[in-house]
Subunit: 535 residues, 2 copies
């Protein structure tokens, strides 16, 4: 039996006995084979046993009361605890702790959908509920409600929201933390708190009014290690009447600027209330055109001119953006018409229609959907991106996500492409920057770069170095990560250094007050308990 750091073998054995009494013997895992299952499936330390961050044990409670009991025991023996919901945060650390030797608090058994109100369009769930679970529950009841899900449907609405994840339908639902309403949280000492209106016994609006009375504390339990969230409410989107896609195509390099301005206007004005799919068909065409591929690697004005000529000659758009509209058929038709009017100011612009649906869909229609996530249907189809296929004979062992936030402007896209490509070159790497920024959040883009994990420890080491270099380069340009893998949390937080790291110091002040023994998720988002803090 592995023992957590800073805990004596005797104390740990005593604590394990108490954990067993609290949750049942079969729900406390100390065998190496069992504990191995909590390793990060996409670990950047693959093949480096000494570097790998692993759990010492795991405990799986079934109720808030059991979570309280576990926390009281852990607090008594000062045992580091690492709560996970479904443990599927792949690319960002998965089910492995941030501090090696922690005991994983596995909340998968707490998988109850506690309430769904069709009339008031909300759900109250436990952390072990997955997007699949919630979707199935709603389908079984026949409710005309949608969920908003991130790429992999096996994740947890609570876990994803707490890590500031995003999805693909409409605002505010697609910002998963913003779409939450009310929490129940177990603190390090085992005390249970309900936030918002949940603090009012018999409250009628716990899942309807976010703020409650007094300081709005919910945010401090996201991307942190201040408590264990055991219940959370979410606002749901009433099933829209229809959906349609419209594609805007532009043919010059610099058209990205008015294209993005138009997108941002439509989003900020609520006329196009979803994310868009920004693309460069010209770059796709480079796969079959070596001359084009070579030109795309250059950043000088002459290359730009030649690329514009190429795009015109090939009749392939330099950039395209797919807009998605949800709502009554006549409304979304008018919205798309309005969007086309706006974009028609860009010389040479062309438009094409994408998919269009009227809800509810049959199974056959769902099978034809371009992307189920856009329709609020969870799936695992994202995993095809790294899988072995005819086009990809060398599948990776997973990936790390580098995800800096940049302004929602064409200039920022052009500049970040240039800067990040250069940074890759400086590190001796092929520039593999994803040229298609994601409009995950309301007013910014996220540049999402996947760094592959391999079986070669040397390559993984190099990847980690490159990752850290990219974090610094991005920060030098005023861009920083909205989320990161546990292995790089200190690096990313270090960039947020205004006034001698005043924000991190505030986080630490809160940490010391709420979790004085520092037992919860040491190191998460760069917040270490006092006894492990570097001075």
């Amino acid at each position: 039996m592995r023992v957590p750091p800073g805990v004596s073998a005797k104390d740990f054995a005593a604590a394990v006995k108490k954990f067993e009494a609290a949750v049942g013997k079969k729900w406390v895992f100390t065998d190496e084979d069992d504990v191995k299952l909590y390793r990060d499936a996409y670990s950047p330390f693959l093949g480096e046993e000494d570097e790998e961050i692993v759990a010492a044990a795991a405990v799986a409670p079934d109720s808030t009361e059991q979570v309280q009991a576990v926390m009281r025991i852990a607090n008594e023996y000062k045992i580091p605890i690492y709560p996970i919901s479904t443990g599927r945060n792949l690319g960002y650390g998965g089910s492995a702790p941030a501090y090696s030797g922690s005991v994983v608090l596995d909340l998968k058994r707490m998988n109850r959908v506690l309430e769904v109100s069709e009339r008031n369009a909300y759900a109250l769930v436990e952390p072990g509920v997955s997007y699949f679970d919630l979707y199935r529950y709603i389908q079984d009841k026949g409710y005309k409600l949608w969920i908003d899900c991130p790429d992999p449907g096996w994740g947890s609405p609570i876990g994803n929201a707490l890590d500031h994840g995003a999805g693909y339908t409409v605002t505010p639902y697609r910002d998963h933390f913003d779409a939450h309403c009310g929490m129940e949280v177990v603190l390090a000492n085992g005390d249970v708190v309900r936030t918002g209106m949940g603090a009012l016994p018999g409250a009628k609006t716990w899942q309807q009014f976010k703020y409650g009375f007094g300081p709005f504390v919910d945010g401090i339990f996201s991307q942190s290690n201040f408590g264990v969230v055991t219940k959370m409410g979410f606002w749901l989107y009433p099933e829209p009447e229809a959906y349609r896609e419209g594609v805007v195509n532009v043919f010059n390099h610099d058209d990205i600027i008015p294209l993005v301005d138009g997108m941002a206007y439509l989003m900020n004005a609520g006329i196009m209330n979803s994310s868009t799919l920004l693309n460069s068909p010209l770059r796709f065409a480079a796969a079959r055109d070596q001359e084009l591929a070579a030109l795309l690697l250059r950043t000088d004005d002459e290359a730009k001119k030649q690329l514009n000529a190429k795009a015109a000659e090939m009749k392939v758009p330099f950039w395209s953006s797919m807009l998605k509209f949800y709502g009554p058929e006549k409304v979304i038709a008018a919205q798309w018409e309005h969007a086309k009017e706006r974009f028609s100011k860009i010389p040479g612009v062309s438009f094409s229609e994408g998919q269009s649906w009227r809800f509810p869909l049959t199974k056959e229609q769902i099978a034809k959907a371009r992307d189920e996530n856009d329709l609020g249907i969870p799936s695992l189809s994202i995993f095809s991106i790294g899988a072995r296929s005819a086009l990809n004979p060398n599948p990776t062992h997973g990936h790390l996500w580098f995800s800096p936030v940049i302004p929602m402007t064409g200039e920022a896209i052009i500049e970040s492409q240039r800067v990040l490509a250069q940074a890759f070159k400086d590190m001796g790497q092929q520039p593999t920057v994803n040229v298609f920024p994601q409009s995950y959040h309301a007013r910014t883009f996220v540049i999402l770069v996947g760094f592959p994990i391999t079986e070669d420890p040397e390559k993984n080491k190099k990847t980690r170095d490159v990752f850290r270099h990219m974090v610094k380069v991005a920060a030098d340009h005023g861009w920083a990560e909205y989320r990161t893998h546990t292995a790089f949390m200190d690096d990313c937080m270090a960039a947020y250094s205004f006034n001698d790291h005043a924000l991190l110091r505030l986080h630490e002040t809160l940490k010391d007050a709420i979790d004085p023994n520092g037992i919860i998720s040491a190191g998460r988002y760069g917040i270490w308990p006092k006894h492990l803090r570097k001075t």
Copy 2:
């Protein structure tokens, strides 16, 4: 010179000298006549000098650095400090502190609009900036941007957002705290923190991406006493093309249920993205019909039947709801059409058109607008409600707002009317419940009841008793306040008592950690520093 409680006269004199050195002698107010100006203009203690909560002095810094200096001095001498922005939170405490003898930190001099981006539709402002200031700034620059303002335009965007105020245009802008993005906060020890992306030096998205990295702490600085907010970003609404109003009229008592369900659906689905004006024309008609007025006071089924008959006979709607649509002309026409289709299922429903505008407006058009606030134009017209007029020969000396949150359902409206009317009767009062709940927040109603302040201390005392009684009655039914006057913050917070007041205990834990000397806004939202806490 009045001296704050718990501070020696000698220490206070020394501190005042230091305040003067920090901000300039003319910006430190200790003369009784000057300090009197910080009294609550709508005080529920009017005429009770011993009960009145008053400031001991005031300090008005001009910059973040001066705020830091003042806080350092206050922290050194343990002087209670009460920050206000424009001090216009009338009905909720105004510019007076929550703890008598506090030194008001008056931020009115910090009235700089630091940045407005038309392209990315945001503003960065200081706390002394009023809605009028920001509106004028935008008009002067000719930017096609709207602000969203609460009733009185002299308030502060920062102050209002921090007190969870709301306005009248569209989501998310009309929820003022939700529409903020990024903060600068001076802590009790004088340290300055920037939240969100502001913690990244040279950040390009401080006003565009809310969460930053790690715990999202902004919420703890709202409705609290944990810091002094010195800068805040706000998202702005790009000027819409057009506006139109549509009124839905229903003629039976119970039609309020499908009427509200329809409203809630349109809001939750984003088809009608604003607040509505819910009304009862039949109740207005009772002013000229005594038989009708008597019937409206009854709650039995027979009365309901007779009222329905009256409404039919008089052709006056029992209830009506005005929907507001903002956006491209064709889009909002389609939205109103869709809304009418939905509501047409209610038997006997009728529709009428309200105002309709295409922007920008001329001055003449603005003068004709039903309500400037709906068009993002700040005003002071709300003050006509209590003023002397032909209809109101006895103006009040202000009012207290009782503002419990109820579910957005017709049943909740009917029940809250009945319960609150009974509670008024039980206290020997004429039931004066405002029958028209406000849809200030996304998924709930606020029942807004104004309690008048008079020159008669006995009446004011009675009003305070009734107010406290109403808070309890509301809590017993699962409804509680989203905001309250400083005099009733303890009462309101006491209702949020789940698990032995776990939420308040969490607030206190945070308070003790961030402001260990307890110098900021003692008592605000029921949070007292350790040395003043009731055990």
